[in-house]
């Protein structure tokens, strides 16, 4: 492409982004007041957040490419290889999927710290049965901030760091299909987290993560953080979904047939479908909520032609697929890692893929189970009860695939494998308790209690976060070039596993004893159990510090350089050198075998890395 000599010489980095974002915010606020809409500054604040985010993204450099397309200006190239080696590349707009993976990892670990501190504050408040430590209003704000921050994190915690880093390596690609979309899916996450945190300046928001009207229409300005922050996460889900799906469909190496695709890639594939299709529904609902709060439309106000059930339906039509957005990549991780350490072929590869698609498909037909006690028409209850119960079949299939792989295997109990076992234990409890909540009679009594809270923490923390830890111990040596200490890793696992179960299992009992969730005060008879849970929660937080300590110890103090393939695994990502070369593969590999063919006589290596001479990879 011939371009003019004109250069746009703004230094593109987060500092510029922040410098532009601050006046951007005030410009939005000013514009909101200019229209003179008689609300509580909500218009100005929402516009301010949007303008600030846009200005931040421009400062990072997202406007360069559109300007280049529109006017032919030569703008600072974002992938200058000379600039792309030092630590600075992690602080700039990078189109390298490996850099984006690390950017995601660090950002999300920082967010996790804040979400975790929120959880500790909640548990501290529950040390006493009355609301003396935290007044009710503050308590519900704390619940909302913890919940929404954790939802932001868990939406991206596996796809972001590990999906971005590993998918091209696992399918034999030298790049992603749409690197700019991929970068955008990362760079909207820090603004989303900051905007959410900004809610504290306005006293938080009182609705938890579900944002039910009419409360969310009437709530103070903290609610605007919920709207804009969540909308940015929706943008991340859609852009990441488009990029991941197009990459997996279009950039697989020669010979990487659909039946040779690693299970982790299948997990990313199915979760990307859900994110791609569910997030736009959330975006539409958030726009309606923003309109109700700013220009006083009445989508959700029953007194003026609207309906709060409209929100509840739209929100949960997104919300239920959203929880499978969390768990499908975790299923992928477990089915990926177990065969490597069982040294056996994955038992029932195709069955496992069908299980993933079964979960993904059914997730669209169950959302009303969240409304069993919210005035749903009684005739609809049996259908949604049945469709929800059906989900235990594909989930059970995935368990069966993992157990079939372990059957009569000589298992190598590495730290990643321990976390896989922890996942199976926790998710079994999480899944079975979910069946009780899908049944209308039990849900009616348990829905508002800690039973439901314990259920989803068993699936999300006991499931997704344990899988995340398995992934971290398994793949971080490839991503960072340093082995994590297995000794600290074992301490971390047992500590976290015991503390997790000690924290959340009693909450099932507390729930059965009718302790309501989202309330600061509770029956004094339950104080003993609650104190047990709080102390356990502190230990659980401590186990995360052990993990952080392991990262710091292994990266900075006792660096054990990782060899290219420390686990002697067959799959493709382990066949490239560590650190991974800039273009991943010198020559595009030709895949000649599946990734799990352990113990099979005369099994071929997974790929011919000599590849096709002079291949471009479309780069």
């Amino acid at each position: 492409m011939v371009v003019s000599e004109r250069r746009l010489s703004l230094p593109n980095n987060p500092i510029t982004g922040i410098v532009l974002a601050i006046p951007g915010y005030f410009a939005g606020v000013w514009l909101g007041t200019l229209f003179g809409l008689d609300d509580d500054q909500n218009t100005g604040i929402i516009l301010g957040y949007l303008f600030a985010t846009a200005a931040f993204l421009i400062g990072i450099g997202f406007l360069n490419y559109p300007l280049e397309r529109l006017f032919g200006w030569q703008v600072t190239p974002v992938t200058d290889p000379a600039e792309n080696t030092g630590i600075g590349r992690f602080f700039r707009l990078s189109l390298d999927h490996k850099v984006i993976g690390i950017q995601y990892l660090v950002t999300i670990l920082i967010m996790l710290l804040f979400g975790g501190i929120g959880a500790m504050l909640i548990r501290t408040s529950l040390l006493v049965p009355d609301s003396t430590i935290t007044p009710p209003g503050n308590y519900i704000s704390l619940i909302g901030l913890h919940a929404v921050m954790m939802i932001f994190i868990t939406s991206a915690v596996i796809v972001g760091p590990f999906g971005n880093y590993l998918v091209p390596l696992m399918i034999g690609a030298r790049r992603m299909a749409f690197p700019r979309l991929e970068a955008l899916s990362f760079w909207v996450v820090p603004p989303a987290a900051v905007i959410l945190a900004a809610a504290t300046f306005w006293g938080g928001f009182p609705t938890g993560w579900t944002g039910y009207p009419p409360l969310s229409v009437q709530a103070g300005q903290g609610m605007d953080s919920y709207i804009v922050g969540f909308a940015l996460i929706a943008v991340a889900l859609v852009t990441s979904g488009i990029n991941m799906l197009a990459t997996i469909i279009g950039l697989r190496a020669p010979g990487m047939t659909w039946t040779r695709l690693p299970m982790f890639v299948w997990g990313i594939f199915t979760t990307s479908i859900l994110g791609l299709l569910a997030a736009p529904v959330l975006a539409a609902a958030l726009i309606m909520l923003a309109m109700d709060r700013t220009v006083n439309t009445s989508f959700f106000l029953a007194s003026n032609g609207g309906s709060n059930y409209l929100w509840e339906n739209l929100f949960w039509f997104f919300g239920h697929p959203e929880v499978y957005i969390f768990i499908l990549p975790a299923f992928g991780i477990i089915m990926e890692i177990v065969p490597h350490f069982a040294r056996k072929p994955l038992w029932g590869y195709r069955t496992g893929v069908v299980g993933l698609f079964g979960v993904a498909l059914l997730s669209w037909f169950v959302w009303q189970h969240h409304l069993f006690v919210s005035g749903i028409a009684p005739v609809l209850r049996p259908f949604y009860m049945l469709s929800t119960e059906l989900i235990s079949i594909p989930t059970g299939i995935i368990f069966l695939v993992v157990l079939g792989t372990l059957w009569r295997a000589r298992v190598w109990f590495t730290v990643p494998m321990l976390f896989c076992m922890g996942f199976l234990f926790n998710f079994l409890i999480g899944g079975i308790s979910g069946v009780y909540l899908s049944d209308v009679p039990t849900d009616v009594t348990l829905h508002g209690s800690y039973f439901s809270m314990a259920h989803f923490h068993y699936t999300i923390m006991g499931g997704e976060i344990f899988a995340l830890m398995a992934a971290a111990y398994y793949w971080l040596p490839k991503m960072t070039g340093k082995m994590l200490s297995p000794t600290i890793g074992r301490i971390h696992f047992w500590w976290m596993f015991i503390a997790f179960n000690s924290t959340f299992f009693p909450l099932f009992i507390v729930g059965l004893l009718n302790m309501p969730r989202r309330v600061a005060a509770y029956n004094p008879d339950l104080v003993g159990l609650n104190r047990w849970v709080t102390i356990s929660a502190y230990f659980l937080f401590g186990s995360m510090l052990v993990f952080a300590g392991n990262l710091i110890y292994s990266w900075f103090f006792v660096a054990r350089p990782a060899v290219a393939n420390p686990w002697h695994a067959r799959s493709l990502e382990w066949q490239v050198p560590t650190p991974v070369p800039a273009a991943n593969f010198d020559r595009v590999p030709v895949i000649v075998a599946g990734p799990y063919e352990y113990g099979i006589p005369n099994a071929r290596p997974v790929a011919d890395l000599g590849g096709i001479v002079g291949a471009t990879g479309g780069g």
Partner: protein, 198 residues
């Protein structure tokens, strides 16, 4: 052994073919996502209309804006999409492409301006019930997307000059036609719902 090599070939033609394929896949994925976005609005339309809380779906004296004016916007949108679609077909000669894309751009800008004008002169306030809410939200969401697509169209027009690269990358430019056609089709459904079914 026979392996598929479509993704990786040495020559520039193959790289361009790969770009085209990815642009096509990306376009269809985006359209799938965006369809769910509009389905959410259509659901809101039918839900609030059927519920008619307090008889406030359409309060006394509130009805759709001028059908004829809405039809003008719709026709302009369809004309934008069809003009670009015809101009960007493989069989179309390069000079026709250079001729028709600016025409499509002008039509696209006109669509946005007409829709914007209508939205400032609705004849009802946004606070006056369910129908005004859905009308403003759905039309607003649609015209913002149409405006963004028009801006993209502008970038294609600037690239059709001798210095640009759209001529050599005709196929990715062609897959953009599906986005315009899709938005025009959404406009058609919206017109049917907001002006006819109401």
């Amino acid at each position: 052994m026979a392996v598929r090599t479509r993704a990786y070939e040495a020559d520039a033609a193959a790289a361009a073919a790969l770009d085209t394929r990815l642009a096509g896949i990306g376009t269809w994925l985006f359209l799938a996502a965006d369809l769910f976005f509009f389905v959410a609005w259509w659901f809101a339309f039918f839900y609030l209309r059927a519920l008619n809380n307090h008889q406030d779906w359409k309060a006394q004296g509130i009805g759709p804006p001028s059908k004829g004016y809405g039809a003008i916007v719709l026709v302009l949108a369809l004309a934008t999409a069809i003009t670009y679609f015809l101009g960007s077909r493989q069989a179309t000669m390069a000079f026709l492409f250079r001729l028709l894309t600016p025409v499509a751009l002008v039509l696209g800008i006109a669509t946005c301006l007409f829709q914007g004008y209508e939205m400032w002169h609705l004849g009802f306030g946004l606070t006056e019930g369910g129908y005004p809410s859905v009308f403003s939200g759905l039309s607003g969401a649609w015209v913002i997307q149409f405006a963004l697509a028009t801006a993209w169209l502008a970038s294609i027009v600037t690239q059709t000059g001798p210095a640009g690269d759209t001529i050599v990358r005709r196929q990715p430019a062609a897959s953009f036609a599906w986005i315009l056609l899709y938005l025009a089709a959404i406009g058609l459904v919206n017109y049917f719902l907001l002006y006819v079914v109401a």
